[in-house]
Amino acid sequence: MLELIIFSSLNGLLYGMLLFLLASGLTLIFSMMGVLNFAHASFYMLGAYFGFQISVYVGYWPGLVLAPLLVGVIGALVERYGLRRVHKHGHVAELLFTFGLAFIIEELVQMIWGRIPVDYRVPELLNFSAFTLFATTYPAFRMFMLLMSVAVFIGLLLLLTRTRVGLIIRAALAHPNMVGALGHNVPLVFMLVFGVGCGLAALAGVIAGPALVTQPAMAASLGPILFVVVVVGGLGSLQGAFVASLLIGMIQTFAVALNVSLADVLARFGFTVTRESMGGDLWMATVAQVAPIIPYLLLVLILIFRPKGLMGDRDT
């Protein structure tokens, strides 16, 4: 039991930090520009694939730097030449644009790298187990993932709270028009934030790619979870996004580890239900099976009952 709790906490923390790498960019973009970037997870996927391609030629480490830079530039270009153009048609048009973009990126990735997962390997340097606890080993690469995401988190925090650029970004989060009136180039800030957000997503891709599976479906499966994080965390709140990321990460990993169903609980109290009784499948579903539903349930409930999210300052 203790083993389960420790490893689930570690994995949950790791998953949550990865989610935060993605969600931080998404929430900045969403809060500042009002654009719910459907393609955000696609940039994460691009990051993983670029990292893989670079690792084929020159190894893992250059990819860790190059892939996010490359994707960041692509993101900035998308903002400048795509999103800004549809901006005049309103938020729905922007949402649809990023939706189409996600569709195209998935098709392109399938075309270039194929439909099956690519062989993105953990670098040799980190291919050992960091520690052994209760006869279960924990890979060093996972520790590296954790450290990287914590480092990026601290870097982002310092950037946003200690620098002038961060000041302008935070101001643009709250009052974009006022910031523009003060003479700052808000479109440029938008472009930079979009680019950096995409770059962060790509970094998460390079970090997660070798440990999780690098495949064309990775964007579509992660994308909706990111929206959950952003909404649960609340608009305009990086802290909220951080808490929500960890929350979702923990919920997901702990739920997957629990192999208990309602039928088991009822059995403890002397009731027996089988697959054949009324609503059979519902009783037999284990918590692990229900795990994928929990975030979406949370999303719907939060949007209805607490539109501000956990720490947001305005309604979604």
Partner: protein
Amino acid sequence: MIADRHRHLLLWAAAALVMVALPLVFSSGASITMMSLMGFAIIFALSYNMLLGQTGMLSFGHAVYYGLGGFLTAHALNVIGSGKWPVPLPVLPLVGGLAGLSFAIIFGWVSTKRAGTAFAMISLGIGELVAACSLILRGFFGGEGGISTSRTSTLRLFGISFGPQIQVYYLIAAWCLLCMAAMYAFTRTPLGRMCNAVRENPERAEFIGYSTQMVRFIAFCASGFFAGVAGGLAAIHYEIVTSSIVGAVPSGYVLLMAYIGGVAFFIGPIIGAVLMTALQISLSDYTGAWSLYVGLMFVVVVMYAPWGLGGLLLMHQPLLAAGLLKRIGPAYARAAPPVVMLAAAVVLLVETAHHLLVKAVEGSAMRVFWVSYDAKSPLVWGLIVLLFGAGIWALRRVMPGVSDAYHAAAQEAQRLRSR
């Protein structure tokens, strides 16, 4: 006014006639199947447009109602078939519709509390929720194999077995016409107009005493009903329903259909559904990258033609009525070469890249549009770059002229009309 009314009736009669006559013209099995697919795609896309186009609600989970309608129709078919209930097949899409309606009442009640982006996200959440449930509730959704059924085991009326595809086509066509008429009628009711008001300006709609939430809810329920009918027809057509039908893919697909066709006009989603179904079936024979083309088309429409292809067509209706269409001919003729050049460049690029990447084992020899060439030849890549560059350059030069010519003609048409 009366003449106007008659013209509408005439239009519907013409639509019915076309639907009856189509299988006589295109009588091959493949084309009848394709037209059947178009039939329920039209209903599905129109039902989607009740949300997006008419009430301004962007939904990412519309396939939930389509899929659940399909599942319940399949279950109903199985029950009827095994119990020998005296229920004829033609009424079964109603089961789908009622299923769609019931689930729309349940989910709509929570999701229409919010509008705009929040509604879009709730719909996405509910879509994912139902998709995830479809993997858990194996009894209802049939697990990976899905629910298979047989449409021929129902009560026969007039000796029609609904075995042959042509009979199913006429069933789908009849339902399609019925639903189209009903959805069109909905847009003409005061409630339909209120939907437009809620889309345009919710504050003012609220201010004159309407509950925008209630209007959204009713529109959502009506839309769920028609989506369910479409799903029921799909279940009858395929005779199998799998859990992928409630997933994110069909939800996105119906959005693409409706938007490419044009959400601002009633006819837009019909155009979109027909075009996309035709593209999906015919294009997938020619190229493995057809969904890439669909995605590109969608983004181009979002960026440059937010009123969709239907909007582009209807833009010219006043000109046609005033007999001024030929006036913009020269300008359009000037714009045609760069557009063709760009399209050729995109097709060449996608096809060549697709061949090199996906079909690498087949060697680099390939053909596009009756022309055989070597995919690795620098000549081809040079041509692609040239076509792109020249196309964009030329298009940028002629586009202002085209726009001017159109606006001049439109103004002239308006002047003629007001006189």
